[in-house]
Subunit: 451 residues, 2 copies
């Protein structure tokens, strides 16, 4: 990376548990910690998963201390009360220190069990209070076993400059691990490794409706005059998430410049930042426009409605919808003429438009969107292959419009892509209505064409 060990100290993650090696449990801790440590300017060099045996843990610790020398090794798992939890013992033996029962930890434990109706602490749980001599206890707000911190072996002072690594022992339960990391480890790392590189300035921009390659083309020109701005593309069925990052002292200012430069290019596709869903963005645009929304779904079978109503407070925008899976319901509930279905088939522009119009008027909405398509795996034809989806969009008093798309992927992926397309269309429509042009939302309607 071209930076010194002090600026970006090495880190190793060691996740412990037989169930990780049999595939019974998926290790979510390693990925979470890797991201958290990277964001704190640590250089994560290795992730190692081993079983619960003491010998295995000790063997892995030898490697971890070498690979993370002068930095930090974080161990997760094996801190529970049962006899197969051996991480405490392995670490104590590895560092050649004794395990001592810590009265303060014991008292917290006993209180915890009293609260849950136990008169005495179950004997096995006393094991949790055994702490390697010299270790610092890190409180666990979510569970019984506290986190533990052991200074680097070469120094004994707790600073990161020793020949070994500072060790953190955290429980394997993800909620407990994260709570201790946020509540204690982060602060301890700041104290132990004060000279770290400033973490990169990072901004997440979520987009939909444009493939990664085109997005990269759009951004290249905007960002060329701004060296040092790194953009990562994370494509998924929901669209492409962009991670803008800049390192160095002027990072926040340079990041702001980059976002400003990219703003117009991203505008037709951007729907929000980290944690914003396309459904939230569509709802917010409708809310700004003062619109209520109805849906008419065939091949997605309710998925669009489900995505919208997953957002708390969606009821002020969403009226409801019709799942017109059977063609008879397209006629009975949405008023699609039988002749239209016969002449064009259910997967067609006229039927999509008629569904949207029916939903808009019958459900009393300000905007209605419809979806009808061939999600597969069966049902495709030469003219309407699997992945063909028609959409209709209706506003009272305006002509109904139809659009077609051809989506790749499995049945589920085609359905999810169709939902994402519908959400994007509704959002753009509401933003273009003008009333909804919120701060920072520039709409270039010319670019808003189906790809």
């Amino acid at each position: 990376m071209g930076t010194s060990t002090r600026l970006r100290p090495p880190a190793v993650l060691l996740t412990i548990g037989d169930e990780l090696l049999t595939g019974e449990r998926v290790d979510t801790n390693a990925g979470w910690l890797a991201e958290a440590l990277t964001d704190l300017s640590f250089d994560v060099r290795e992730i190692l998963s081993v079983g619960d045996e003491e010998e295995e843990i000790r063997n892995a610790l030898v490697r971890a201390e070498i690979r993370a020398a002068g930095g930090v090794a974080i161990l997760t798992g094996g801190l529970g009360p049962t006899l197969d939890d051996r991480t405490r013992e392995a670490v104590a033996r590895h560092r050649d220190v004794e395990l001592q029962e810590d009265p303060a930890v014991l008292e917290v434990l006993a209180a915890r069990f009293r609260d849950r109706g136990y008169a005495d602490l179950p004997p096995l749980n006393r094991r949790i209070a055994r702490v390697p001599r010299g270790a610092r206890v890190l409180p666990n707000p979510e569970g019984s076993a506290p986190g533990l911190e052991l200074p680097g072996s070469g120094s004994g002072s707790g600073s990161g400059s020793g020949s070994g690594a500072v060790l953190f022992l955290l429980p394997g339960v993800p909620a407990e691990m994260r709570a201790i990391f946020r509540g204690s480890v982060r602060e301890r790392l700041d104290i132990l490794f004060p000279e770290r590189l400033a973490p990169p300035a990072v901004e997440i921009v979520r987009t939909s409706g444009i493939p990664e390659s085109e997005l990269a083309g759009e951004l290249e020109a905007c960002l060329e005059p701004l060296p040092g701005v790194k953009v990562q593309y994370r494509p998924s069925v929901e669209g492409v998430e962009l991670r803008f990052s800049v390192e160095g002292t002027a990072a926040p200012a340079r990041l702001a410049e980059a976002l400003a430069a990219a703003k117009d290019a991203l505008s037709p596709w951007r729907f929000g930042g980290r944690g914003t869903s396309a459904a939230e963005a569509a709802l917010e645009a409708c809310r700004q426009a003062g619109w209520r929304l109805a849906v008419a779904e065939s091949c997605t079978g309710g998925m669009l409605g489900a995505r919208l109503t997953a957002v708390p407070g969606s009821s002020d925008v969403v009226v409801g919808g019709v799942i017109a899976y059977d063609n008879r319901l397209k006629t009975d509930l949405l008023g699609v003429p039988g002749s239209l279905l016969e002449a064009h088939g259910a997967v067609s522009e006229p039927v999509a438009c008629s569904m949207a119009a029916g939903a808009c008027s019958r459900l009393g909405a300000d905007i209605a969107v419809s979806i009808t398509g061939v999600a597969g795996p069966g049902g495709g034809s030469e003219t309407r292959p699997v992945g063909t989806v028609w959409f209709g969009l209706c506003r009272p008093g305006a002509p109904v419009r139809g659009r077609t798309e051809r989506f790749p992927g499995t049945r589920e992926e085609i359905r999810r892509r169709a939902v994402q397309f519908a959400l994007r269309w509704v959002r753009m429509e509401a933003l273009e209505a003008g009333a909804g042009t919120g701060p920072g939302d520039h709409v270039d309607s010319g670019s808003d064409s189906p790809r």
Copy 2:
């Protein structure tokens, strides 16, 4: 484990990629391979993730060969065409063999690119055809980079008895990795390690509607006379998945005994085996009963419909549904009297029943189920706290029935639990109708009460 190395050969997994160490990508390959190898009677001793640098990969390979001596090490990632993919180079250097361009691989690659409209193979992609001398090429049915197999270093014969490990190199793209594992690696392992312990006999039973602790209580009595039967409980929002496993020579017979003994206890809750969804089970029960199904959803907003229509071929059972999110639609589309809504509120037994009755008659179904509840986080009250959900079930000509449940969790979890409950109710109803009592499906209606 008490078994010799030959019976349960050691295995190490080595996943490669900078993005694993920064948390940008979650490693799903390690868990998948760990389970697959465990099921094939390998003893997975360690999972190691390192970055893309050649030096890092070689360092990890030294460890992997020691830890998996006499067994197998599987590497994933770093086989792509770009220059930062260095796994081939690292392995060749580690084993001190040359990389040679393989004409057969090159021809497959060129054909693949011709099919995609390229006149010539892009130069970088020729890197994919470079194969370490002595390696066996394993075809990749899903992508460009083939898998590679290198014999154990101590023997050169390809048998697992050498001092090093047999190495398999697989692409990091999960679909490609899995396809090569299923298509080639599994067979190669059978040839290379013929004397392995018979894999345990395993059966997955999926249940819903009963918590893990009660299920364990039910099973304990049935399974007590059958030592050696191991049951793992994997709870999720969708219910509890049971993994029955038995090791040893008489494993299949003992497993069959266990499943027979547990059959009655599990019957009200079991909806299928590995890979079966509760939606599929409900659809199949309706299909057997000759019923067509309609849904009326309020708080789930289309999620029940989406789950049902996620199943290919669901259109022969699912008519469709109404997403009656706004109370006005409950009246307009489902015929729920306004007076009923006013007197009891939307989250009530009378309204749930009226929604189901309206869906059944207006949508022309043989069975209709309704959901209305408080999914939160807002909207709860003392009498109807967040998590309270009412269900209605209607069959033409029979009295409509209502049920209430109180679900824990987040908004999304409450909605998913509600959908799961509705699916279970529909399935039980269709099975009880008698016409649908399929082979092996015993229904104890007495136990079919809400918990």
